[in-house]
């Protein structure tokens, strides 16, 4: 009967499947950061169209998740490249080595700025990182003085500094699973809270308490977790001129007619200010290549060449058009050299 045929079909499909997986994979498999994803996909597409290789497959798994998959082992069932919006940690490299992934090539591709923005119709604002910390941390130093933390008492921006607008504090930002949130916490909140000497001192005595003090965001409605979708934050800011939002620089760049970025430490988020490092809230972006897969999976070397070429990563390359801040000249030359010789990390 039909059922017998179906059972046979199921069995044969299963066997073909395992046979298939053990043979070579014809395309590059890439995993990793959702921040690098918009840049890597552009390169992958260009690579697929202009060479005889297949277009690489890119999964957006987040930096940590990507490195975990990447480090799981050598072989066609494991990804060849992982994107990351932070440098790989020593502990992760150890994990990699323990699973046989010995030689890893690091490629730094450029910088990404994180902007604090608001509606175009609102008045210009300039923040310091200390002010942002005071506005957004769950517990802040007692405004009456003394070296102790109290539940955040600030209701409006003016409560923090008279120069800031008299608006209720309302900041839309990404949830804890987001790389943008990690970077914001590290680059703004940590910096802001270390500007208080007694909190900085805590770091030596009790690392966990220091982390809790600096990195825990308010839960009383002043900080609104608006989801991973930066487009949604942009739409909400447009509708509500009194609110601020935290998002990647490329979203600010694409929506200049709707939103504008607030200056931080007096520097506005612009292409140039992020590139020369004067805008303080920016982070490097990377990808990591498994050297053992070069030559096994077709096209890895060529993909590296495409990514590091001047027409992609260079100062006027197509990635800068998408909002990636290019590397300074000398650093770029070093990256290109490493990619050519496939030099692994030490």
């Amino acid at each position: 009967m039909n059922k017998a045929k179906f059972a046979l079909a199921v069995l044969s499909v299963a066997t073909i499947g395992s046979a298939y997986a053990q043979s070579a994979r014809g395309y590059i498999s890439i995993v990793g950061s959702s921040t690098v994803y918009p840049f890597a996909t552009v390169v992958a597409e260009q690579f697929g169209k202009s060479t005889q290789f297949k277009t690489p497959k890119i999964e957006s798994t987040g930096s940590g998740g990507g490195i975990k998959l990447f480090c799981a082992g050598v072989g066609v069932e494991h990804p060849d490249i992982t994107n990351a919006s932070r440098a790989i940690k020593a502990s992760e490299l150890e994990q990699c080595a323990a699973n046989g992934v010995k030689d890893v090539i690091e490629v730094k591709i450029g910088y990404d700025g994180i902007s604090v923005g608001h509606s175009k119709s609102a008045a210009d604002v300039s923040f310091t990182r200390r002010q942002l910390y005071l506005a957004l941390a769950k517990e802040v130093p007692d405004p009456k003085g003394g070296d102790k933390l109290v539940a955040n008492p600030y209701k409006t921006w003016q409560d923090i500094n008279a120069a800031l607008p008299a608006l209720r504090i309302e900041v839309l930002g990404p949830p804890p699973t987001s790389g943008t949130r990690d970077a914001f916490v590290e680059l703004v909140m940590d910096e802001g809270c270390n500007s208080f000497s007694f909190i900085k001192a805590m770091n030596k005595a009790d690392k966990a308490a220091h982390k809790a003090a600096c990195q825990t965001l308010r839960e009383d409605g002043a900080y609104v977790e608006a989801g991973e979708n930066d487009n949604l934050i942009v739409q909400k800011l447009e509708a509500n001129p009194d609110a601020f939002g935290i998002f990647g620089f490329s979203f600010l760049d694409q929506n200049r007619d709707k939103i504008k970025g607030a200056s931080i430490e007096g520097v506005a988020p612009e292409f140039e200010t992020i590139a020369d490092g004067s805008y303080p809230v920016s982070r490097p972006l990377f990808f990591y290549v498994k050297k053992a897969h070069v030559g096994v999976i077709p096209g890895i070397k060529e993909y590296l060449a495409e990514f590091t070429s001047a027409k992609a990563m260079g100062e006027e390359g197509y990635l800068s058009e998408r909002g990636l801040i290019p590397l300074p000249k000398d650093e770029y030359a070093r990256v290109v050299g490493n990619a050519k010789t496939l030099t692994a990390m030490k």
Binding site: K3, A21, R25, S29, K57, E77, N231, G323
Partner: protein
Amino acid sequence: MSDASETARTSYARVEAGMKRRRAAERRFRFLGKCAVGLGLAFLAILFVSIVGNGYSAFWQTRITLDVTIDEATIDPAGAREPQVLRTADYGALIKQSLRDMFPEVSGRRNRFALYGLVSNGAGFDLRDKVLADPALIGRTISLTVAADDDVDMLMKGHIDRRAPESDRRIKDNQLAWIERLETDGRIGSAFNVDFFANGDSRDPELAGIRGALMGSIYTLLVTLGLSFPLAVSAAVYLEEFAPKNRWTDLIEVNINNLAAVPSIVFGLLGLAVFINFFTLPRSAPIVGGLVLTLMTLPTIIIASRAALKSVPPSIREGALGIGASPMQAVMYHVLPLALPGMLTGTIIGMAQALGETAPLLMIGMVAFIADVPGGVFDPATALPVQVYLWADSPERAFVEKTSAAIMVLLLFLATMNALAVLLRRRFERRW
């Protein structure tokens, strides 16, 4: 005697007195019911209006007509017409040349880049396909209509305000002047967006298409249907018609009912552990997606199929057995055909649920950028709801309308499946 009629009268009066209240309660209840239906319809209408309103423009694409001279020296200097040479030649240079010819006054690197930015990055590949199809074109000047860049498209569709200050626009003043000249020359126009239905995913909104995701969804659902329907029907028939009623079958029944309520992400994790890590099937492939969704839809179909079997009157079975059919013959030729419409309805509901699922696909790597349209169940693929999610997350403005358009395609797919279910039911259903 009079006592009794007295009691009857008073109880009648009491009923009469309460009647008004009861009727009012009845009216209120009906009114609330209507309100609930009306509210539901209103939300549905809002949803459709916003999706169609945002997305209908994605089915049109701004196109620019260029006069391209296919210069032999640029693309085939040897003149041998070798396919390999023709395939890798720099067709973008020809497109750029034709733009320079059209606007000879544009000078300077920056301005030229702005000029080249008017047409899509895919224009050169369009030209390549044309030349590969007909190498006789080399050396001639042809009129080629190519997709405009997504920013130009947004401008023409009115999503970018021409009167806004220059710094607020992604289309700069010089580009605007060129576009206006193209408009007066009648070289810029709008056409049905064929690319949207013919292409796979792309990071250029004007080149991005739904086909890859659509094929991915179709392959995944084919695997799901091919596995879950026969398995679920066999399980339901055995449990309903043949299995002895004891503690074991009770346990199985309770478990099937519980499985139907398990969150789908759990099945994704199971799929990752079993199909990918243990059986080493490829990541991101519709075969794994189909297997995972099979696990998810099995309980739904089993429960629906058992209900359908239960609704077949016992007289059918008894009649068949009475004229000497074996129990298997009674089930195969008498009960099953009558229960089939109900089973099909259950299957389609399960399939519709599987079509909209993204959570388990996340675990098995189907949430990914995949530009090539999948050609089989082992090729990497995404699915329609995943494509909606990926586009909604893209920074380029033009993806907003693409997202809504993808939702429309998804809804259409769903409506087609449901219509099929209604049709099948109408055809086969028997009422008792």
